[in-house]
Amino acid sequence: MESDLLCEFESLRAKSITSIRAAKEEGRKVVGKYCIYSPMELVLAAGAIPIPLCSTKQDPIAEAEKVLPRNLCPLIKSSYGYAASGACPYFNASDLLIAETTCDGKKKMYELLSDIKPLHLLQLPQKQDEEALQYWYGEILKLKNRLEEDFSVTITDHNLREAIQLMNEERRSLQDLQDIAKLKPSPISGIDLLMVLYNRGFSVDKKEAVFMVDRLTLELKELYSKGVTPFTRKTPRILLTGVPIGIGSHKVVQIIEENGGNVVCFESCGGYKAVYDRVDEEKEPLLAIAKKYLGTPCSCMSPNLARFELVERLAEEFDVDGVVDLTWQGCHTYNIESYSMKKYLQEKRNRPFLQIETDYSESDVEQLKVRIEAFLEMIN
């Protein structure tokens, strides 16, 4: 799809570096984060700029392997390599990092990162019941105190409610955009959708980003009504679940689409998982925030039935022909969970399922092509 709006999204990351520098000169603080368990509302309520950090490219992995073991997940290695080598401008601009004890690899890597930057570690419980919520609420409260202390601000309920509204509005716009791909055939390719979902996160002005996303959604609706689409009604529709991906770690999406498929739904972190649930605007703000974030269906939770239910529901709603479960090498939680995911989906509806275990390198592209092409032939 060629569109001026898509070009705007493409240039968003470069643009945001300039905006961050300008904002910092005016005294605004920047908070870097890696994971969707980081509660953005608190950062916004503290008047700071939340920004995602680089973690999706192969380039800094060699640098990271000077310190980290080679057989670790590429996302952790890339994150650390970017940070340690100074190659991530967002990391460099950050005044504070928010991190969580999600998987073992990440929490040990964060210990190393805390030598480079001030880092606030949230101890994330790994179950999602009432007891865990009370504990997590305490953690959220500690983050609020840390932000107030570090940035010499007071976070009021009013600030929090405004931030909740803004973030819910962002979630609403992102869900609307992703729902466009429910149309058959989808007017947007998975690779373009991924680029938008990934790049918009770097926008410093969240209201502006919501406006841009809404404009794109409208544009796509028009394209659909005119019958403009890169696909046909016969194009196999794929739901991608599993590990987080972004631009740089998008090779599986690219291979699927270059071989005649269409990724219509990203259940993963940067996609539907982050936006399908909202923060309750009626409840006490901090508790409502704690509840929404703890509910995130990540494989670090045990059990993680909510992910299976979400994938099945989305597979149904997006009318997909097959599910691809992408797992990074060394990501034990997603790799192990893949077995149960397959079993769950096949017992429900005997849905075609393909697990791809890979890393960020290009070394296995030819082999992946055979498997993905064969999978597309199988479901077509």
Binding site: E366, Q367, V370, E373, A374, E377, M378
Partner: protein, 270 residues
């Protein structure tokens, strides 16, 4: 065993439709000419130039069938080298082709085990003959023809001799699945004066174990058809078949199953 498609297809000019399947593998390149039944086949080493190998094997198979290029209505390419063939009409992955070819030769096939030069795979086939699931070992040489090639290199024997030596010998346990580590392990065993026969038997057992571990992830129903160059070796087939506790179907020319499947897919498409 007589395998035929029940109906013959005729072109607009009233001639019998003939298709070709070309399978460019990492080690061997195969071609089958098909007109409802196998008209001819050819197998040549791939060498360093998959494009040329694909062309040559096609011409050889045509020659064998006393046909000209213009007699062929559709050419389907498969195998890792399929992308290098400019003259094909369609490309299909080896997964789909192996399932198709195996079902043609053995219509009751529900599982295809293929050990090729650089990958091995298990394909689950539905009752209707379509692929329902598959698993590939494609990131390392463990359990592939290349593994066997390296091992026979250390023992200074051919693949046929490996099978003969292995049969009837008590296998020594080889713990490494990794080709490079297994190589060191075998060099160590030779230094301890373990017999070539016991090592050969151990190597074959390693392949069987690797294939068994692959099948734990996909349904493995009978009948099982074994394809690929390694299936040419009767002793290795016997070890695998006993490890699986099932009888294997093995084609007269197990290497051509993929090329045959490609030719049939072309035939059905017309």
């Amino acid at each position: 065993m007589v395998n035929k498609i029940d109906f013959l297809k005729y072109s607009e000019r009233g001639e019998v439709v003939i298709t070709a399947g070309i399978d460019v593998g990492s080690t061997a390149t195969k071609a089958v000419i098909f007109d409802g039944t196998i008209r001819s086949m050819a197998i040549i080493p791939t060498g360093w130039n998959p494009k040329e190998a694909g062309r040559n094997v096609f011409l050889e198979a045509l020659n064998e069938a006393s046909l000209q290029e213009q007699d062929i209505s559709m050419i389907v390419g498969t195998g890792y080298g399929r992308v290098s063939l400019a003259f094909i009409d369609r490309k299909v992955t080896e997964i789909t082709c192996h399932a198709k070819g195996a079902r043609f030769l053995f219509p009751q096939t529900r599982t295809v085990i293929d050990i090729g030069g650089q990958d091995s795979k298990v394909i689950a086939v539905g009752e209707d003959g379509s692929v329902v699931d598959f698993i590939m070992n494609d990131k390392c040489a463990a359990g592939t023809g290349r593994f066997l090639q390296v091992m026979t290199g250390i023992l200074d024997i051919t693949l046929d001799e490996l099978g003969q030596m292995a049969s009837g010998s008590k296998p020594v346990s080889i713990n490494s699945m990794c080709t490079v580590f297994a190589e060191s392990e075998i060099i160590g065993l030779l230094a301890q004066e373990v017999t070539k026969e016991a090592i050969a038997s151990g190597i074959v057992q390693t392949i069987a174990n690797k294939m068994l571990s692959l099948t734990s992830r996909v349904p493995c129903l009978e009948e099982i058809t074994f394809s690929g160059g390694v299936a040419n070796n009767p002793e290795i087939c016997a070890v695998l078949s006993s490890a699986f506790g099932a009888k294997f179907n093995i084609a007269h020319q197990p290497q051509i199953v993929g090329a045959l499947g490609a030719a049939i897919l072309g035939y059905e498409k017309l």
